[in-house]
């Protein structure tokens, strides 16, 4: 940096879960964004239900973040902000699924950006991928798990045999469902998101009222048991697809065969699969909601709005590239089949700080094998142990080691 970066002024409309997470995240990332864009974003005004004036917030802003939700006054505010020449980033799926065409037209007329990654599937970058990566592609179908609340409930029902009511109560307790869960469990929230995805995928106007939807309230533990018997998983699936010369957009509970890319998406996660002859298919998955994650999606849009011509910035750091790192390992030994073998191997591992996580012994006599997985340790220490193990008289060939990725994901 040769001089102080210019300030990029951000106005915030709404200060609920996402708004307050964004207000925290922005200053924490301002230096990094200044390095990328040459401008330092700063929160210059906040409108809450009880404080602030809309007029003052937009007057002081280069870009407005709308995370109030609802149709009005959000629609009015977003339109007025764009007419005043401000870029807008919104997380409001209801607004876009009702008034998208009006708002996108206003953005084009006023030469400003209207970005909305956070409106669908949280930080999963499906909007950007449809609008940019696949801008030139002929999309055939978009299939998604776009509501984390219902996916959490169905996952609980499948894994624990809970009833719908029990799983809903648990979702509410953990903050994955609202006190009034109607929009989520009836499929209406997913329908709004599918309307937006269909609009982008097929380049045709789609209003939420054109999306048929069905919820999960009627799903029973027995359905999930039968699904299991039939080799299927049950998800709330949104589909937008070409049908003849038209399109169909719908949200329904649906069974998926195990090979389906959405079949393994569990808990509050979201995922979207986009199919096109050009690309076969792409699947994107990640957390579908949560204040911090949604705020992060809003921040990505903010950065994009700040740097229209994308570029790879100069590196801002010169980090050391480390060679010796911790890993869990699989160790495969061909051994003579005699007492004390495991104990001696375990002792040599232990001297280097390696502890055994699981062991399989197989075969007899000349074909005996000792296979184990050890907990993470520095690879230099693991290989030091392996070198000593290779020298033991009962080890009959070169030990074989392969890394194991330890992290458990949910």
């Amino acid at each position: 940096m040769t001089s102080e970066p210019k300030t990029f002024r951000v106005g915030l409309l709404g200060h609920g879960t996402v708004g307050s997470a964004f207000a925290e995240l922005l200053p924490a990332r301002a230096d990094r964004i200044a390095a990328i864009t040459g401008m330092r974003p700063e929160l210059t005004g906040i409108l809450t239900t009880s404080r602030g004036s809309f007029e003052e917030v937009i007057e002081d802003a280069d870009l407005v973040v709308e995370v109030m939700g609802g149709l009005e006054p959000a629609r009015d505010y977003v339109l007025r902000a764009m007419r005043a020449g401000k870029h807008v980033v919104t997380a409001n799926k209801q607004l876009l699924s009702h008034h998208g065409e009006e708002l996108w037209a206003a953005a084009r007329e006023n030469g400003v950006q209207l970005r909305f990654e956070a409106a669908v599937a949280g930080v999963v970058p499906v909007i950007r991928v449809l609008q940019e990566t696949l801008a030139g592609a002929h999309v055939e179908r978009v299939t998604g798990i776009v509501n984390g609340t219902t996916n959490f409930i169905l996952t609980q029902m499948a894994q624990n045999g809970s009833t719908y009511a029990e799983a809903l109560a648990e979702a509410q307790e953990l903050g994955y469902a609202e006190t009034d869960p109607t929009d989520d469990v009836t499929g209406r929230d997913a329908a709004a998101k599918m309307a937006i995805l269909a609009r982008l995928a097929f380049d045709t106007p789609v209003h939420i009222d054109q999306v048929s939807y069905e919820g999960i309230q009627h799903i029973t533990p027995e359905d999930l048991q039968y699904a299991h018997d039939l080799g299927l998983g049950l998800k709330l699936i949104g589909t937008a697809e070409r049908v003849g010369e038209g399109i169909a957009v719908h949200v329904h509970p649906a069974f998926l065969y195990h090979g389906h890319p959405l079949a393994s998406v569990s808990g509050p996660f979201n995922a979207v699969t986009i199919e096109s002859a050009d690309i076969t298919e792409i699947t994107l998955s990640g957390p579908g909601a949560g204040g911090a994650q949604t705020a992060s999606a809003v921040l990505g849009d903010l950065v994009s709005a700040m740097i229209p011509p994308a570029s790879t910035p100069e590196t801002s750091a010169t980090l050391e590239v480390v060679a010796d790192v911790e890993s869990s390992f699989y160790l495969h030994l061909e051994v003579a089949d005699r007492p004390g073998v495991l104990a001696q191997v375990a002792q040599l591992l232990g001297l280097q700080g390696a502890s055994v996580r699981s062991v399989v012994q197989k075969g007899l006599g000349d074909n005996a094998r000792l296979v184990m997985v050890v907990h993470p340790l520095l690879e230099s220490r693991f290989y030091a142990a392996v070198e000593l193990i290779a020298g033991l008289d009962f080890v009959r060939s070169k030990p074989r080691a392969i890394r194991v990725v330890e992290e458990e994901y949910t």
Copy 2:
């Protein structure tokens, strides 16, 4: 369109698998791109190993697509194109993992875009997501299956018990591996891609020579059998992660526990998981290679370079939104336990064109259940059959129907 769109001139360097697929795709998508960008892309020059002059190709171009591969003359050509004020889209991972800093600096100095989505994981949009969606995020770790050849070989070994040599031969036969597979099977190809991902994730220079890598040539069917016994899957995994104040970048065969988002990626697919406290994790997956898919990634970059300020274009079509679509269904009936029940149900389904894919019968007497999955048919016809079935005297409660997503993915 009120007037003929302006031409956007594209020069193509290289006419192998990707180059020729791109040369075919571009005219097929030119109308759509003209609708989005207001400019019609047109191939104005091609340089092959035997035809064309580099000077003429760049002179006639607004943007140059480099899909020749290799370090020289690709590096020289890309630099000269940017110095002449041309945007560049490249699929060349070797080039970027060796000379990335020099090339990105040249792009910044000359005010042109250098885009390279196709260089890593084909059409899987990991470059765009790291550079744009996550531009402001603090990334902790990037983990990827970024080589389709080795993932195909390991999948074959796991599924069929093939040896490495047998699986490699099959990959070569199917076009998933080159005649000389050295770069793929030694992990060097994956190392180049991980160098690029690490550069973007951590904003620090990373050269391919700083990436340690190990291939899959020494993996045996027995390893995969033990992996199975231990509840693990075996993949060639690239990892770029923060370690203390530095970073570590490496490529190794590694076992994954089943819950890992990369564990279910099979065949020639690629996938990348990005972890950050801001976002938890995002996983992106899709075909890692293939001429058409890579050409599609190049096309996405081309469109982005043509429209620096992203916007949602006017809709170009008004497609009918169809309500009645085909689906496979699960049908759950509570029935009296007597002979002929299944036959009557199947007959009513058959009259509407519904054929039964699988059936489960459970329970006796008052608790008898008939659960089936039917092959796809129009939902109006399915529900017409269900209404008739509901009227049968042995059906003891309202039939329950849930959609089944039929497609089998590989």
